[in-house]
């Protein structure tokens, strides 16, 4: 069995050409065993932001942001996000005052004061997120050598490993394209957060690290961050580990691409427009060629 990284799947458009010639039986791709020796196959989940009409669920993003605030932000930043993004349409749409208060907890450098020293002031809506550490060195010093990655692109920066036989490859590729599988990073993130298990008996776990069935190499510097009841939800949603993982992943998916909803909405119109245009052009072509032998 060949172990292929999913990156492979996403790239060989070449085989797409073959795949597209083949019929719709493409969809009956063989299901791989979900756990082969040491390999955990991350399942594909349903996300509101997947598919043609994907959107972000405001309540879920708010819960996810609460998870981020309560747990993740102690170590991880969202460096590409501005505070104002939290108030924007299509996102968590938090009240402006709430976000202003949240931003004001952090200090940012802003020019120099009259004495020539760096002027510090509380962060405002227009500022980028301020992280927990000044730099990677400070993070490593505080966290036993581990540097927590920035999370603003995490759901786009991760993919999952899949076992795909070479002959099934064109079909899986075609299926991924047609079902728009763009949520590998979200599936990975959710699987990682819920992937803390006891190590296999013969596993040699280094001190200070935790076993995770999804993380490459299975030894991760982040101790299990979420657990049942860890975060208190305001909207009455039961705060299970799985729910927290889903919510914070959805929040991170939004943070990775706040323009996703705008993109998909516009995309639907563009497709409709182009299909009608193609139809009209085809009709024109037929008309112009109607009496021509060719």
């Amino acid at each position: 069995m060949t172990t292929m990284t999913s990156s492979l799947v996403r790239r060989s458009l070449g085989a797409f050409v073959i795949g597209s010639v083949l019929s719709a039986t493409a969809f009956s791709a063989p299901a791989s065993a979900s756990e082969t020796a040491g390999h955990y196959e991350v399942p594909r989940l349903e996300w509101t932001f997947g598919g043609l009409s994907g959107y972000f669920d405001k309540q879920q993003l708010r819960r996810g942001f609460k998870v981020y605030q309560t747990v993740c932000q102690a170590c991880h930043n969202l460096a590409h996000l501005s505070y104002r993004n939290l108030t924007q349409p299509g996102g968590p749409e938090l009240p402006k005052e709430e976000v202003e208060a949240y931003a004001a907890q952090k200090q940012v450098a802003d020019g120099f004061n009259d004495a020539g020293e760096v002027n510090m002031r509380p962060a405002k809506l227009a500022d980028l997120f301020v992280g927990p550490f000044k730099n990677d060195k400070e993070a490593a010093a505080a966290l036993n050598g581990s540097v927590p990655p920035d999370l603003s692109l995490i759901t786009k920066a991760r993919s999952i490993e899949r076992n795909i036989e070479w002959y099934a490859f064109p079909f899986i590729m075609l299926k991924d394209i047609l079902t728009q599988y763009q949520e590998q990073g979200a599936d990975y993130t959710h699987a990682l957060l819920t992937g803390y298990t006891d190590p296999p008996a013969d596993f040699n776990l280094l001190p200070g690290l935790s076993y995770n069935r999804v993380f490459p190499g299975h030894q991760i510097g982040m101790p299990q961050p979420l657990s049942d009841g860890m975060v208190e939800y305001d909207d009455g949603t039961p705060s299970t580990l799985d729910q927290q993982a889903k919510d914070v992943t959805a929040f991170l998916a939004w943070a990775a691409e706040p323009s996703l909803v705008e993109r998909k909405k516009l995309g639907a119109w563009v497709l409709i427009y182009l299909i009608i245009l193609a139809g009209l052009l085809y009709a024109s072509k037929k008309l112009i060629w109607r009496n021509v032998k060719h």
């Binding site: 996403r10 070449g14 692109l153 728009q180 763009q182 516009l266 563009v270 009496n291």
Partner: protein
Amino acid sequence: MSHASSYEPKTSVTRWLDARLPIVRFIADFMVFPTPRNLNYLWTFGAILAFMLIAQIVTGVILAMHFAPNTALAFDSVEKIMRDVNYGWLMRYAHAVGASMFFLAVYIHMFRGIYYGSYKAPREVLWMIGVAIFLVMMATAFMGYSLIWGQMSFWAVTVITNLFSSLDTLYSGLGTTLVQWIWGGFSVDNATLNRLFSLHYLLPFVLVGLVVLHVWALHVVGSNNPTGVEVKNVEKETLPFYAYFTTKDLFALAAFGVIFAYFVFFTPNYLGDAVNYVPANPLLTPPHIVPEWYFLPFYAILRAVPSKLGGVLAMFGAIVVLFFVPWLDTSRVRSASYRPMFRWFFWAFVFSCLALGYLGAAPVTETSTMASQFFTFYYFAFFLIVMPVVGIYETPKPQPDSIADTFTHKSDDGSGRGARPVAAE
């Protein structure tokens, strides 16, 4: 089939201009270019490519207004484009997906040329300009990908530029010196990013120039066609480019646009590597360094050869060999439709390219290396053995005497209403 000009200026202004700069005549003659009636939709990819080149330039110029070619800023500036520039996400995804669509179209265009023998006399120069275009396209795409300055960008530049160090085995120090000259320093760094950006902005305009030559050459010799038989009777067998082929090309372009838009709006990251959303880190090598999909067959050829210099030579040789195709193919029959043996070798060649594409992304194992070597061998054998030998031994099927023969049996009256076939030279 360069045709005599049929343009007659009708006003005093156009007559005045025509005597000084016959630009209107040029456009008018371009529009009535006699084109074989029997072209199939594979001949629409030239127009699709022309559109893609323009689309890449337009989106690229807009991106360049917001991009910062500096190692400390590049990655963040790309994210700023995605988040803070109005429709910046659209420009970036259209440009990134556009590169893939450009290559998809060019590969179809090239396979079309090979299948129908479009490189054969008198179209050798047209074909060779095409190969030059292909080379410059690859360089442009490689440099563009590097600008994101993500992990895959950085390591792809590192790996590919380092290939030149293999020249050290020819002459000690030659490769190393060359690599440092390319880098502008002792490592892939800010100087490298700056020149990659400068060249990435320059080369598309070189492409424009080459495409002008390409289309010029096309207009001198005329389009080949699915029968591979030259046009004998311009009036019966061709139609003016406008409106017959403009509408056909536009329809094909719109259909291609549907696929393009699908990727841009719904799976914009499918064709890219997730790892490139991690900022470049010179101290951390990613576990798998994989190029973009359109380079994978060549990457597989590189890895198939055990020696580094040999691999580099094979990889470049895989493109250089294309220049000689017009003289490697010994058959006098152009179209593979009438070449019963060659046709099979052609499809085996297409399969090999796809297989090499698959292998270029696969982790290296003993089996994958053997498979890569097998398909690399066939890749070269197709050009260096099949093309010369099959042309000699094959008995071609009878070709139609003329293009017109393929449609005169069809039942319409053939009056060609609306057709204004142009007089031959």
